[in-house]
């Protein structure tokens, strides 16, 4: 009987061309996720509005001890940069899930100059660190692209595994060559000279981020490079047919994608952490993948979703939630719920479920 019931529901591929606007769907799923998250909080016996209120307060409050909103923005900056970075690769259907490792590689190279060449003039030092970050991340991004072009290796596995290698390099440096006190793991704090300046409450990385968002949008939509990336994402055969040098575009794009992640790594060490540690990427490279996907690879929307995730993270990290008797891990749960709901909604962009009445039976 139950099978009879289920057999009345069918999954049908949507045939109409227009469909629902995918971005609208992303936002709808966000709303749905907040509702489901609220129900979850309700099950814990708490008032969801109070909890959401606390989260928002924790993320945006301007207190005497410092403005929380600046912290939230600081948290969002690497997310914006890395999500744009992976968006560029994703547009090409090159599944770069190595933003984490590329961030780390950039952070390592930048840290070298911060730790050992800090006598340089301040602005020159920062510039060198940015370039070092870009080169570090870019090279780590180019390696899987090279093997993909040469031997058709799987970039998903390749970029993923490089993440762990990059992470291990930090551990090695911390325990060995770059250790502050021999025998104890830990790298020294950067000199003030190697730290990003604060402009308007947040480190100067935000200006770079704003410029990047605009530049990335133009790059993807109006330049020859952007056009090539889109065509390759559509079909490599079409790209070859059009006379593109496909391998060159893939290598170039992955360098750019990796370099942006590397710069994000540099900004993180120099602007927030002021030292190099294993937590420098801290999963942001993976969160970036989710953000890129939710934003449908649109840089401007990446900013919105990055702020959202930063708000959740920052808002849940304070002591306010603890006072309500909730753990800061609520942020992770809410993120998880958002993700699930969005995946479910994604299904509905392409399919619909129809219920067949009994009129024909």
């Amino acid at each position: 009987m139950l099978t009879d019931f289920f057999s009345r529901f069918h999954i049908v591929k949507k045939t109409n061309s227009a469909g629902t606007n995918p971005l609208l769907l992303s936002f709808l799923s966000l709303v749905a996720a907040l509702i489901i998250g609220g129900l979850f909080i309700l099950c814990l016996g708490k008032n969801p509005f109070a909890v959401y209120g606390v989260i928002i307060e924790g993320a945006f409050k301007i207190a005497r001890t410092g403005a929380y909103v600046f912290k939230t923005i600081g948290y969002a900056i690497p997310l914006v940069i890395t999500s744009i970075a992976v968006s560029i690769a994703f547009k090409m259907k090159f599944w770069n899930i190595g933003a984490e490792g590329q961030m780390i590689a950039g952070a390592i190279l930048a840290s070298y100059f911060a730790l050992f060449q800090s006598q340089m003039p301040h602005w020159l030092l920062l510039l060198v660190m940015v370039l070092a970050g870009a080169v570090g991340g870019g090279l780590l991004g180019t390696i899987p692209a090279f093997f993909k072009c040469k031997f058709d290796t799987n970039e998903t596995l390749f970029t993923l595994m490089l993440n762990y290698i990059a992470l291990s390099v930090i551990t090695y440096l911390k325990d060995g060559p770059w250790s502050e006190t021999p025998g104890f793991p830990g790298i020294a704090k950067f000199a003030d000279n190697a730290r990003l300046d604060i402009v308007g409450g947040v480190h100067i990385g935000w200006i770079f981020t704003v410029l990047l968002v605009v530049a990335a949008f133009i790059y993807m939509r109006y330049t020859k490079h952007g056009y090539e990336i889109s065509v390759i994402g559509d079909s490599i055969n079409t790209a070859r047919y059009a006379g593109m040098n496909v391998n060159r575009v893939i290598l170039r794009t992955m360098f750019i994608s990796g370099a942006l992640c590397g710069i994000a790594g540099m900004i993180q060490v120099s602007g927030i952490e002021h030292t190099l540690g294993e937590s420098v990427a801290g999963g942001r490279g993976f969160t970036a993948i989710i953000i890129a996907w939710l934003s449908r690879l649109n840089p401007f929307v990446c900013v919105l979703f990055s702020m959202l995730f930063a708000t959740l993270q920052q808002g849940c990290s304070g002591s306010a939630l603890l006072k309500l008797g909730l753990s800061p891990y609520v942020a992770d749960i809410l993120q998880g719920i958002i993700l699930f709901v969005i995946l479910a909604f994604d299904f509905f962009t392409q399919y619909k479920i129809v219920c067949r009445g009994r009129k024909n039976a």
Partner: protein
């Protein structure tokens, strides 16, 4: 025998959003009868057959099988009712044997496959007089054999109502004849058969009755014996059409493109072109005939600079263009247009709109880092008007357009670049009569301008009428280059299977 029709459809209606694909369609097939379903693209044939196969559900209308009213909710229901569909594109697992493909999805109970499956399959194939070796792997099979496996697959499931969707598109003349023999034998065994096809000659040959669909409506059902090609065309198109394809006089002469002893290998080292020597003259249409996979695609892609040459040379006006990339060929001042077989996967960027697709081959010419969309927009508007492309917008992804419109976008772009050489691979495949004639006209126009046209096609009738010369390929070798005005379908068919024997390059001209 049961006097009730095997299938009877009454007032079947199915709409997708605002488009009515099937509008109160009536149709019936008796046991022991072959019904041809005729109609242009978009007339609703495939939708109707998908309803029978349980892939779509009708909005309204009734289906009767052997006089009993049924509803087909899913492909399994269709299976149970004895309806078997043979799709145009084979749905076979290449690395499996014939028998494994045949039992796939209908395996007997138990964890392991039994050896006896080969016997079972052999039994069935013998009963219907189909020759298939059950242990042969699909990738070792010819197209004709694959199709036989598809037919066996539905027979194995006990189907006695067969639906074939354009089964002859990829077959040689000889294979078509064999297929028709099989169908006739099955008809005589009491099966009901529906065959969808574009080719009127085949309709006349194989069917007992014809149902014609136009714009989602069934406009007529006629006895084949009391009808003729002309009447059927008129029913299908809705107005009288001139069916003959014009072969325009040649007004230019001189050699444009030559290949000398051209050999090409696929990525895995299989020789796809073997010692091909040919010339393409100014202002001629050179047809290339051959069984699917005889090297047509490789010939096109090699000339277009997309495949590396193993041996031999390609000359354009005596200038060697061997192993140049498409971009280098263009930079050498040679205007070569290529309309590939895979329109959305190679000729166009599927998720982009018409405007962006116009840029595909010219975007690199703009100065500076940006693409120039203004000219592309103009070009897009020009071809949309000239070829009467119907579109929901210049930026709407081309993959959402109908096949005919997609081809018009591609052809329009390639012709707008004023080519000296125009390579067309299966330019009318899957297109309806009107669009096909638009394309033939466009090719003739190019011919008049002095363009050398390489025309790859699977319809020999069309080739005989349109082309000046026809080159026949078999296993990558040239088995003949003949004068289209003086040859026959039978001669081409023999050359296509290399019945002459050795496969040596011999000019039958």
């Amino acid at each position: 025998m049961n006097k009730q029709p095997a299938i009877k459809l009454c007032g079947i209606t199915k709409s997708f959003d605002k488009v009515v694909a099937n509008d109160h369609i009536d149709l019936s097939v008796q046991r022991g009868e072959i019904l041809a379903l005729l109609g242009e693209n978009g007339s609703g044939k495939t939708t109707l057959m998908n309803i029978l196969a349980g892939i779509y559900q009708p909005d309204s209308g009734e289906i009767f099988i052997d006089g009993e009213r049924v509803s087909i909710h899913a492909p399994e229901d269709a299976n149970r009712l004895g309806i078997g569909m043979i799709h145009q594109h084979f749905k076979l697992v290449d690395v499996h044997t014939a028998a494994d493909n045949i039992i796939l999805g209908a395996e007997p109970k138990g964890l392991f496959l039994r050896k006896s499956r080969y016997e079972k399959v052999r039994e069935i194939s013998e009963r219907f007089g189909l020759s298939v070796e059950p242990t042969k792997k699909i990738y070792n099979m010819s197209v004709g054999e694959k199709q036989t496996v598809e037919i066996l697959k539905v027979l194995y499931r006990g189907a006695n109502i067969l639906i074939l969707d354009e089964p002859t598109a990829v077959l040689t003349v000889q294979e078509i004849r064999r297929l028709f023999d099989i169908l006739r034998r099955m008809r005589d065994e009491g099966c009901a058969i529906i065959i969808i096809t574009h080719k009127l000659g085949e309709v006349m040959e194989i069917s007992d009755r014809v149902t014609v669909l136009r714009k989602g409506k069934s406009v007529a059902t006629v006895e084949t014996a009391s009808s003729d090609i002309h009447t059927l065309t008129e029913l299908m198109v809705g107005s009288s059409v001139n069916l003959s394809i014009e072969r325009t006089e040649r007004t230019h002469s001189g050699t444009l493109l030559e290949t000398h002893h051209l050999s090409v290998e696929s990525d895995d080292g299989v020789r796809m072109l073997d010692d091909v020597s040919m010339t393409l003259e100014k202002g001629e249409i050179l047809g290339v005939a051959g069984v699917a996979g005889s090297g047509q695609r490789e010939l096109c892609e090699t000339i277009a600079g997309l495949m590396p040459i193993r041996e031999g040379a390609i000359l354009f006006k005596k200038k060697n263009i061997e192993n140049m990339t498409p971009r280098q060929i263009f930079q050498a001042g040679i205007s070569m247009s290529f309309i590939p077989e895979d329109r959305l996967g190679m000729g166009l960027a599927a998720s982009m709109g018409i405007i962006d697709n116009m840029l595909l081959k010219t975007y690199q010419d703009a100065k500076g880092p940006f693409v120039r969309k203004k000219d592309a927009r103009l070009k897009a508007e020009t071809i949309t008007e000239k070829l009467r492309i119907s579109t929901s917008g210049m930026d709407a992804p081309v993959r959402l357009m109908s096949g005919g419109n997609v081809q018009k976008v591609l052809l329009g772009r390639e012709i707008e670049s004023d080519p000296q050489v125009l390579i067309t691979a299966y330019p009318v495949r899957g297109l309806d009569i009107n669009t096909s004639y638009t394309i033939y006209d466009a090719l003739n126009e190019q011919k008049k301008k002095g363009t050398g046209v390489l025309f790859i096609c699977e319809d020999l009738d069309v080739m005989l009428e349109l082309c000046d010369r026809i080159m026949v390929l078999c296993h990558g070798k040239v088995t003949g280059i003949v004068d289209a005005a003086k040859t026959t379908k039978e001669e081409l068919g023999l050359l296509m299977t290399d019945a002459a024997g050795k496969g040596d390059t011999e000019n039958v001209d």
